[in-house]
Amino acid sequence: MRTLTAFCLALFAGAGAFAQCRPPRYQAGAIFLDSAPYLVRSISIPLRDFVPSSLVCLAASFKERYRGRGSITVNIFSSHKAAQKSLFGQESTRETVETLTQMHARYVLDAAKHEEFVEIMPLGASSALGAGAYGFRIDLPVAAPPSCGLRIGSRCMIALQQFSYPHEPGSKPSGRVTLAGTIARDGGVRHVRAVKTESVPAGGGDLLAHAAVQDLSNWRLEPGPREEAIRITYSYVIDRKLQYDDTSLVDFALPNEVTIRGNPLDCQHCGAR
């Protein structure tokens, strides 16, 4: 019962172009500040609902529910556990970073600055590449249904994992891996397999293919009415101008290509950790 009551159905109609929209169901998380004119709170919604139209509608429902508040921040997580956690510890810890990784959007209204927007963050709010990497901001109000940053066909990219250049002791290959798979109706990518692999040195192909399959299998796109085939090539490029660490740079040329540049540490000592 308690779990059921924790589910809050936002019943408030949105304003403007989204007056008739139906906001996604959300689960209440921690409330950090709820004292006029301020609201700072966390909620969670299913990953499938991190699409621009749903989030804009959700923002409208919060604006209506907290009508008159001049400063609203709603942190939107894909995990209920993460939404319940404190975000404001003085010490930055691994747990804080991991929690923020599951924050894929936020709604901000700042009347004093005349700002109102939804920010969507496929990599989460904490990333070695910076908060909001590959994300995009939708300024509100919008006159038409908003578009998204990364997309394949008509489907927006909802969630990605932090990219990491594949390497193992004594081997940091470069090369290309072409993958084939299926985007399921729920937005998950299934049946991913490598159909072509080229690498330098030649023996590194399996490592690259494994990393590419793992990565694409973790993409989460907007749900759609039918399954769709996907064929995409991952290019792995060693870039010695980059600093030694696991922050890889990624260029998307969707729907056909992803290029990952990195300069991993020669991992002779990785086992020591």
Binding site: Q84, S86, Q90, E91, T93, T96, T101, Y244, H269
Partner: protein, 168 residues
């Protein structure tokens, strides 16, 4: 670390004074607000939303889950201590709140780390930058610049590796 101070002796004296003047409190037993404890930076004291938020959260909420003014907040972070970094009432910045559940793991490096908070008024992220550490990452790939995993542990590890504190 100390802008305008080029004399290593002066800087060392400041650090020595910060450590020796530290006043420890039992963080788990401290229910004053994080605002009253001075957990907000001087810059953030002029942000009314942050002030209200920190006024609504107890010091023990840095270490354990708590029920605040607006409901329950879960805390799963393993934090050894948290420090005063400003003084809303104008007093000295010397307080450090210890997570007494983890007191066995409290090290010299943590004491020094907390003293640097007192002294610089910086949050962890800013202190990391001051100490030349790179931003935290999510993977266990060693970073040759710091060779440490993340955040506050990074800072304490670095202080120990540089010989600024003993191993215990």
């Amino acid at each position: 670390l100390f802008p305008g101070t080029h004399d290593p002796g002066t800087a060392l004296s400041s650090v020595y004074a910060a450590v020796s003047q530290q006043i420890p409190f039992d963080g788990l037993q401290s229910n004053i607000s994080q605002y009253d404890a001075g957990f907000l930076s001087v810059a953030d004291l002029s942000d009314p939303a942050k002030v209200k938020m920190f006024q609504g959260a107890p010091v023990c909420g840095q270490f354990i889950s708590y029920r605040g003014l607006y409901g329950s907040v879960h805390v799963t972070n393993k934090v050894w201590a948290a420090s005063q970094i400003s003084s809303p009432d104008g007093g000295p910045v010397t307080d450090v709140y210890i997570n007494t559940r983890l007191a066995n793991g409290l090290s010299q490096a943590t004491v020094l780390h907390e003293a640097l908070h007192n002294l610089t008024g910086a949050y962890d992220a800013d202190l990391e930058t001051l100490l030349g550490l790179s931003p935290p990452d999510l993977h266990d790939v060693p970073n040759p610049n710091t060779d440490c995993p993340i955040g506050s542990i990074c800072i304490s590890d670095l202080l120990q590796k540089k010989g600024c504190s003993g191993p215990n």
